[in-house]
Symmetry: C2
Subunit: 337 residues, 2 copies
Amino acid sequence: MDIIIIGFGTIGKGLAEVLYKKREYLKKNFGEFRVVGIADSSGAIYNKEGIDLKKAIDVKEKTKKIINYNDAEKLSIFELIEKEADVAVEVTPSNLETGEPAKTHIIESFKNDKHVVTANKGPLALFYNELIKTAEKYNKIFRFEATVGGAMPIINLAKENLAGNEILSIRGILNGTTNYILTKMEEENVDFETALKEAQELGYAESNPSQDIDGLDTAAKIVILANSIMNLNKTIKDVKIKGITKITPESLFLANKKGYTIKLIGEVNKKYLIVEPMLIPKYSPLNVKGTLNVAMFETDLAKEVVVVGRGAGKEETNSALLSDLISIYNRVNNSTK
Amino acid sequence: MDIIIIGFGTIGKGLAEVLYKKREYLKKNFGEFRVVGIADSSGAIYNKEGIDLKKAIDVKEKTKKIINYNDAEKLSIFELIEKEADVAVEVTPSNLETGEPAKTHIIESFKNDKHVVTANKGPLALFYNELIKTAEKYNKIFRFEATVGGAMPIINLAKENLAGNEILSIRGILNGTTNYILTKMEEENVDFETALKEAQELGYAESNPSQDIDGLDTAAKIVILANSIMNLNKTIKDVKIKGITKITPESLFLANKKGYTIKLIGEVNKKYLIVEPMLIPKYSPLNVKGTLNVAMFETDLAKEVVVVGRGAGKEETNSALLSDLISIYNRVNNSTK
């Protein structure tokens, strides 16, 4: 299966690393996953015989620009999207205001006869229906497990493993940064600013952490779940959002005394979408610590199903991208596996 | 998609009920799932235009014998397996000593050009490789999510949502009966016999509970996970098994004092397969209560992933059967969903 990777930052390069490291394993268990094109902000490269991933990673790390890779045709991102390949992996930085440039990359990929896998929340939180309809129109597969919960299976879990169930609600912790901060505040009795600073030092929070701590990141994920799993037609504007900046160590202490903890919970049901700090019983499966993510589905047949996993991290996100690529491979090759 | 149901007890009849209740929902979201044949110990019925499920359920409940259903050809189970249909659902009672009659039903179904979905642990715990090879030989899909963990996604979760990950180990609570008993003993300080009796009265334990409390049921499930997820080649004889009959309220009390609980854990890794009561930290995600099941995967990319769900129950088991049927439907119809 021939792949182009659009976006070659932490995630895109991480995917190349995983595809390189696991090439024997993948070939033995599934088939050949060949990267024929890579794009970053410097431009794009294409070689229909395959890109040497080790060399591409090396060039990117040393020169910051994939365009410095030799042994390939140099072209623009959109020229790359027009080239022959089976799947486009869209992993440019996420923009929750415009969804671009990812949205255009995805749409153009469908139009140019490519299945799409993405980790990009922006276009899905803003233009879900348009993207799905375009995929359907061109009869292409569109998968985006990595957009929510990192390595924690959630979208495909609900759509496939729980297929046939009606999903009545989904609630959970979908942002590892805020969970890290709240866990820290609770366990070490420190205030919000101190916990945030430590999260930033450890690389768990960005230098501008507002999308995480204000709840926007969780809201985008809740919208993706609402649309993809519950067939609602929502955007971020439909979510009532409240972040964690007002939470104090005292409120956590008081909650604790009564057998509760406080978590930033995203929830979607048939009536509303909400993101806010909620009291959670200490023994609830939703009380997971550190940077972990968790989701609880309420369904008609299976009743409650809970899943816990790592919400972020380079390898963890690539676990989701890779499972989506393998799913497409099996589907395209009509595997009975 | 045309289905035959082999076995029309709690599970088989439950599946018919779900397919009947959800017929509009399934048709709208996926396609038509038509039952054309049903077999129980009285014999089999077949109608290529479809069985009236409401009537079939009614006949079974009133007369105990599906053979009393009119409007269909009456035949033997093996004659039914030879008839035209896309999928056979094998849900006769499980036998952990011989795997029969399910094993033969499954093999014959593959030979007669049918995909197979089963909830039957016996044949999979005893003859995994033979069954898989037969499915491959006849190019048929074989799915068995319902054999382990009921409505808790586990087999397909590991093989699909975590595809590309190497699964290093799996450990968890795979038997709701023993979890109910241990939870009861811990929370109400009652002895094993008392807790077992209550579990029996509530229908959580069978009148002969030995397969559950001696660990054999968990062992069969661990073998299925070892073979299907970790590509090992094991049978029940490879599992070191210890049940929960020796656990006392005192041992639970002492464990509790130190911050632990005791659970019957099944575990498989590359070195061994084991089922035994283990000390679990109270705050571990493995400490789930009542009849819940839980599994923790350790993987190379996604690291730890935990899933919690209901391990038993008529609707819960049918959640797993139904998701397997839908997966086959989508595959056969080359859906891009």
